[in-house]
């Protein structure tokens, strides 16, 4: 059944998304072309351009980390949210919410400190930290999103002969999707930022030039890494905004 895009974001948002995406891609593949600019701005820094890895490699590694951690956060988070909103799992709601909240209040540096001795350096401890960090918004919004479906609508679905699976698949999930996606959006944006600190334990991310710059007192490195992370976060956020719009059905249910 057609889940149509009924309301569109203003076209200016779309133009913004397209131009920022273009800028991001241009910077990722062509940052080196700006070397003269950085040399002019920071004449005392040598080198003024981070060159140990290509920015393309760093960006792809950063994205892979965020993608994998977000996939795990989203599957575990949505599953947990679904579980505690079913009759069988309702009593676990407080427990799951608390666990997810603890996951987020833990400073990511502390998570790394705990995980590194167990899992070693690099990708894995960063992934664990990101997953824990990204879980809460997904769980919260899954529970909240399912909660916005009016009970009368569920009753109508049941009264018309849908079974529990059909109600979940055809009614609850589509109607909760906008709020769930809003949670995923928060989770992913947090992870794009947080992934940078994975570089302190040896994960290759866009944080690598930032950390190198901070350690080696090289401001251009910091700027080069930070601009890419920032742009990546903004572009991702705008893309999610568009995705969310696809799931608003012009009904009167509370927006959150």
């Amino acid at each position: 059944m057609n889940v149509g895009a009924l309301s569109r974001p203003p076209s200016s948002r779309r133009a913004l998304l397209i131009s920022l995406s273009a800028l991001l891609i241009a910077l990722v593949v062509g940052m080196e072309q700006l070397a003269p600019l950085f040399r002019a701005l920071f004449p005392d820094q040598d080198p003024a351009m981070y060159q140990r890895e290509s920015f393309l490699d760093l960006t792809l590694a950063h994205l892979a980390l965020v993608l994998v951690s977000s996939l795990i956060s989203v599957s575990v988070g949505v599953a947990a949210g679904l579980f505690v909103t079913r009759p069988a799992g309702r009593e676990f709601e407080p427990l799951v919410s608390t666990l997810a909240a603890i996951g987020q209040t833990f400073p990511p540096a502390a998570v790394l400190a705990i995980v590194v001795p167990v899992a070693g350096f690099g990708f894995v401890p960063t992934l664990v930290a990101l997953v824990l960090y990204g879980l809460l918004p997904v769980v919260q919004n899954t529970v909240a999103g399912l909660g916005t479906v009016p009970s009368q609508m569920l009753e109508a679905a049941r009264g018309n002969g849908m079974n529990a699976w059909q109600i979940l698949w055809h009614i609850e999930l589509p109607l909760a999707m906008r709020v769930i996606i809003a949670g995923v959006r928060v989770s992913v944006i947090i992870n794009i930022g947080t992934a940078t600190i994975g570089s302190t334990v040896g994960a290759k991310t866009l944080g690598t030039p930032i950390i190198a710059g901070l350690v080696g007192n090289n401001l251009p490195y910091v700027i080069q890494g930070a601009v890419l992370v920032g742009l990546l976060a903004i572009v991702t956020d705008l893309a999610f905004e568009r995705l969310e719009q696809r799931f608003s059905f012009g009904d009167s249910r509370a927006a959150s």
């Binding site: 059944m1 057609n2 889940v3 149509g4 009924l6 009016p150 009368q152 609508m153 009753e155 109508a156 679905a157 049941r158 009264g159 018309n160 002969g161 849908m162 079974n163 059909q166 055809h170 009614i171 589509p174 109607l175 059905f249 012009g250 009904d251 009167s252 249910r253």
Partner: protein, 349 residues
């Protein structure tokens, strides 16, 4: 046919539905009515097992409803509630097709059925097929809700205050439409409301509940002329009993032959209608209160009656226009007979 036998619902110690037994015959329009919280919705929802009953039995066409899996049962019973029950992310056509899709009808049969229902509810010429619920007016949404309940052609239709959230004018239209659909389809309907006028207008039988118990189960006219006790009288509204009764009766039953004349000379009868060559009334001679008997009042379209009009409306017109008689007209405006103020007291039938 639906039979409730000693039907009871307990929540803890409270019996919110208490030992209700009644039979809804095939094709009957049964209205469950009573004060808020008396157990109407609970009773209705036990019929399609949205709520499990605690004691007693429910038979549908002689078959105990607990012998079927609940989903199968519900696909055989139409269910309509207020318009919020429409799925906001599905188009009108998809909403109507809900049950046929669950029953895995072939797509062509579903499309045909959707068109049929849109036509039945006069929604077909409004291009609503592809609209979403939020693009509908309250009345349209309500019609779609009822169409959805009828989609798989169930024998039984359950409706829980379906017109509770629409304005009075729209409700009036929807009631008339539901009555027509009931006549055309011959479905057995169980309909919950707390509005006595709605009940009297639609019901072929009214079940009046109070505190979970069945107080009276009767034809509407019986309820009005022979209320079982003071609760029934109070619930109907003592002051209005007579008018409610008249609202159930049609002019037809009170219509009697009219005295006619072709000129404006006063004839022998106290009320005489001056008619033209086509037997259309032009004026009433006499029959005007507080004026001399020879008064001549030109007939105006507002103070005429038709056989289908309710006697309540006819009486209201007589009072408003200060005449003691109304001409009863056929579709062409010809004089069929008259209803009079004194005739309101005794009807034939």
């Amino acid at each position: 046919m639906i039979e409730l036998q000693g039907l009871t619902k307990r929540y803890g110690e409270t019996r919110v539905v208490d030992d209700i037994s009644l039979t809804v015959e095939q094709g009957e329009f049964c209205v469950l009515i009573g004060p808020s919280g008396c157990g109407k919705s609970t009773t209705l929802k036990m019929i399609n097992r949205l709520i499990a009953h605690s004691e007693g039995k429910i038979l549908l066409g002689g078959e105990d409803i607990t012998t079927l899996p609940p989903e199968r049962l519900r696909r055989r019973i139409g269910y309509a509630i207020q318009s919020i029950g429409l799925f906001p992310h599905w188009r009108v056509a998809d909403n109507i097709a809900t049950v046929p899709r669950l029953l895995k009808w072939p797509a062509s049969r579903i499309a045909e059925r959707v068109d049929e229902l849109l036509a039945l509810f006069q929604l077909d010429d409004e291009g609503l097929h592809d609209k979403y619920p939020h693009q509908l007016s309250g009345g349209q949404a309500q019609r779609v809700g009822v169409a959805r309940a009828l989609a798989a052609d169930p024998d039984v239709l359950l409706m829980d205050e379906p017109f509770g959230a629409v304005d009075p004018l729209t409700r009036d239209t929807l009631q008339a439409e539901l009555a027509r659909v009931h006549r055309q389809t011959g479905k057995t309907i169980v309909f919950v409301t707390h509005d006595m006028d709605e009940a009297l207008r639609l019901a072929s039988r009214v079940a009046l509940l109070n505190a979970g118990q069945l107080v009276q189960y009767d034809r509407p006219a019986e309820l009005l002329v022979a209320p079982a006790n003071d609760f029934v009288r109070d619930f109907i509204g003592r002051a209005d009993l007579g008018l409610k009764l008249l609202s159930r009766r049609r002019v037809e039953a009170y219509c009697r032959p009219a005295q006619r004349t072709r000129n404006n000379a006063i004839a022998s009868a106290p009320i005489t209608w001056q008619v033209d060559a086509d037997d259309r009334p032009m004026a009433l001679l006499g029959g005007r209160l507080g004026e001399s008997d020879i008064a001549r009042t030109v007939v105006n379209t507002e103070w005429t009656a038709t056989p289908e009009m309710s006697m309540k409306e006819a009486l209201s017109r007589m009072v408003w226009f200060r005449v003691t008689a109304l001409p009863v007209l056929d579709g062409e405006g010809r004089l069929l007979g008259e209803v009079t103020m004194s005739g309101v007291m005794g009807h034939r039938s």
